[in-house]
């Protein structure tokens, strides 16, 4: 079976949704999107599924995975229409200008081929498409050319106390930007603090890509093919252009599908995008498509984090808006450094150490009113949760490769993930984590409180890379627009093109990069009238 289109988008997560929506609005082009997973549960089912999640911990997105595609070290098994962003927290800070110039400014890592100002209009566009509610922080820390499309989510009583606490420590904190509607926005209702943004917003106040897919398919702008796993890309004869993608239907695994398109956009994220390119090796590209540089799958990394809980001498009321918090970029724009350290700072209310318990301080089992009294006594002081993501610079060997020992249900090698810090990053790790703990200690002292506990997490969050962008075809996989150096009609959107992973939540950056790629793809097709 052959399906023809002008643009084939592989993957249906948030970056794919950005590409499809922009192209559908601005260009005359037939769009086909292919997704390995099945459709996400419709909005009208969310409240019931969320209730089961809250009551029993059940998956609000049941069957949102494809059997046989488990990879050790992957961040999530989620594979459904909308991807991981069906269950994301909706937190959308931008990277800072420094992120794009680490080598020039600090002598570490690599510069991107684009600057913050190049991405600013696409950040804005992404914020408008997904409806980000935010307030600009201090301009020197949080530059932007236009206001947020939505006013910030209000600070709860708790967060206002914590903001003042930050102020007392000389650390500016402001409402974290979030893709949650602070007032009705493009058909989405205003957030009403249900507290389960991740994994599921029961009312749809938080953006998720199913809204985009629903609108695009209802309007007939996109053909969305689900439960179909793309196994390889095939080149045109006598050319380096990609001719088509070969896929297998999960429902008819004996049938091979071919998706032919003028332009192909890979939007499968940091893991499955390099995997597909590596799987598509052929005699002219024996190491995989787009891989003349040898860098497909390389320089993969995220940001690690240090966490703390701080007891403060004031009463807080945890649960007022559990997943909303405060952000500071103060440490993302450091002054002159003796050693390189960059990190963000997030603050939330917390119940750490304040949960009800079965034994009192004397070891006796507590029952009846005693248990409640014990709990109440321990909530007279409040607790803040702090977390900082910090830069991790990946080594070239930090890579997605093909796993010869494990295969997909269709016999192809599965991807294998191996994170490796660059030498400079490894040398800085202990120092970085110590500096962050120092910030937490400083804050605790300023508030007359104490740090209850800290921990550094080994998890590399928001991973990206694997198809890094650059001007030099020998040192990068794609150009500054996401077009692969080796194949003029093959583009990569979102996370894989990142040169570094930044030190804050990265989803908005992936969206902005994807929109920039869509702008370039769109040049191949006639414009729609505004």
């Amino acid at each position: 079976m052959v399906i023809e289109s002008d643009v084939l988008i592989i993957g249906s997560g948030i970056t794919a949704a950005m590409v499809a929506e922009k192209l559908a609005e601005e260009r005359h082009a037939r769009l086909v999107v292919v997704e390995a997973g099945g459709p996400a549960a419709p909005l009208e089912e969310r409240a019931g599924r969320r209730a089961r999640y809250v009551a029993y911990g059940e998956n609000p997105w049941p069957d949102d995975h494809v059997d046989g595609l488990a990879v050790e070290g992957m961040l999530s098994r989620t594979m459904q229409v909308g991807g991981q962003a069906m269950r994301w927290g909706g937190v959308t800070p931008r990277f800072s200008p420094e992120d794009f110039r680490l080598r020039s400014l600090y002598g570490v890592g690599d510069d991107w081929p684009i600057a913050y100002d190049d991405l600013d209009p696409f950040y804005q566009e992404a914020e408008e498409r997904i409806g980000v509610a935010g307030v600009q922080g201090p301009a020197e820390l949080d530059p932007r050319s236009k206001p947020y499309p939505l006013p910030a989510l209000p600070l709860t009583y708790n967060l206002e106390q914590l903001r003042r606490w930050g102020e007392s420590a000389d650390i500016p904190l402001w409402s974290q930007p979030s893709a949650k509607a602070s007032q009705p926005y493009r058909g989405r209702p205003a957030c009403c603090r249900n507290d389960t943004c991740a994994p599921v917003c029961p009312i749809g106040a938080k953006y998720s890509p199913d809204f985009t897919w629903h609108a695009l398919t209802e309007a007939g702008d996109v053909e969305l093919v689900t439960r179909t796993f793309v196994r390889r890309l095939v080149l045109e004869r006598g050319s380096t252009r990609v001719s088509h993608a070969v896929a297998v239907s999960l429902d008819s695994p004996d049938e091979e599908l071919e998706f032919h398109a003028r332009v192909i956009v890979l939007a499968g994220g940091y893991l499955w995008t390099p995997h597909l390119l590596l799987l598509s090796a052929e005699p002219r590209f024996p190491d995989g498509l787009a891989n003349t540089s040898g860098l497909v799958g390389r320089y993969v990394g995220g940001h690690r984090s240090v966490h703390a809980y701080v007891e403060l001498p004031q009463k807080l009321y945890p649960g007022m808006n559990l997943q909303h918090g405060l952000l500071s970029k103060r440490f993302m724009r450091p002054g002159p450094l003796d050693r390189y350290v960059r990190h963000d700072l997030r603050v939330w209310e917390s119940t750490y150490g304040r949960e009800p318990r079965l034994r009192g301080d004397d070891g006796r089992v507590l029952l009846g009113d005693e248990l409640l009294e014990d709990w109440r006594r321990r909530t007279e002081t409040g607790v803040a949760r702090l977390r900082s993501y910090y830069d991790v610079l990946p080594a070239r060997e930090s890579a997605i490769t093909l796993d010869d020992a494990r295969t997909t249900p269709w016999g192809d090698p599965l991807p294998r993930i191996a994170f490796r810090d660059a030498d400079e990053s490894r040398a800085l790790r202990a120092h970085t984590e110590e500096c962050i703990r120092g910030v937490f200690e400083h804050m605790a002292r300023a508030g007359g409180g104490r740090v209850l506990m800290t921990r550094a997490d080994d998890l590399q969050d928001h991973p990206s890379g694997g198809c890094r962008m650059g001007e030099d075809p020998t040192a990068s996989v794609c150009d500054a627009w996401g077009r692969t150096h080796d194949h003029e009609n093959l583009f990569i959107a979102g996370a894989p093109v990142c040169v570094s992973a930044g030190c804050t939540d990265a989803t908005l950056t992936f969206c902005a990069l994807a929109l920039r790629t869509a702008a370039e793809v769109g040049k191949e097709f006639p414009a729609r009238e505004a």
């Binding site: 029993y56 961040l75 989620t78 994994p199 977390r387 997490d457 998890l459």
Partner: protein, 201 residues
């Protein structure tokens, strides 16, 4: 004690049970349970247990009875081997454990038997302190610190406590304030300190 990762932070939300916020259909018996024709928890014994372990002085008899009823309904709605949330940071799929109700029912009967052995009366006829003493003996080994997720409780008394204390109502009771955790509340109301909770008179 819960760890500090984002993953664990999100997981801490899972066992929270907003009793008042849930539609009745959530508790509807699952087809798997119907097939097994499982007996629900015995109501009178459960009520007597609730009076012994829940904050009777603060909730009052009616409040305790309501909490026991909700726990019973929650237990009846439990689905064994249901796919659990595999949120961000969790690569492996997880499934809920076996139905805790048969074991919990047996424990309720054990409380009744032990009551008759020790006191010559049924559990419901004992005073609160006597009931608590029986429960303490049975949960001594399990009561190691914090409360588990309700379905993970090995003893019915711990399950009941875990269920109640995970509820937004319990949070409000503890803080003496109308926080309304996990319920739909206007954004604008969040700026002010939560209104004080009226104490039961």
């Amino acid at each position: 004690m819960a760890g500090l990762t984002r993953r664990l932070f999100l997981k801490t939300l899972a066992p929270a049970v907003p009793v008042a916020a849930l539609p009745a259909s959530v508790w509807a018996p699952a087809s798997a349970r119907e097939a097994l024709a499982q007996e629900p928890l015995e109501a009178e014994l459960l009520g007597a247990l609730a009076e012994a372990v829940l904050p009777l002085g603060e909730l009052g008899a009616q409040g305790v009875a309501a909490a026991a009823r909700e726990f019973r309904a929650w237990a009846a709605g439990y689905r064994p081997v249901a796919e659990l949330d595999h949120g961000y940071g969790a690569a492996e799929l997880r499934y809920s454990g076996p139905d805790p109700v048969p074991g919990w029912s047996a424990q309720l009967r054990a409380l009744e038997l032990e009551s008759r052995q020790r006191h010559g009366r049924g559990f419901v006829e004992l005073g609160i302190a006597e009931r608590q003493a029986l429960v303490r003996r049975q949960i001594e080994a399990e009561a190691v610190g914090g409360l588990p997720a309700p379905a993970d409780a090995r003893h019915v008394a711990v399950g009941l406590l875990a269920f109640f204390y995970a509820s937004p109502a319990a949070t409000d009771l503890c803080y003496g304030a109308r926080i309304g955790r996990l319920s739909c509340r206007p954004l604008s109301d969040s700026r002010a300190r939560p209104a004080e909770l009226e104490r039961r008179t």
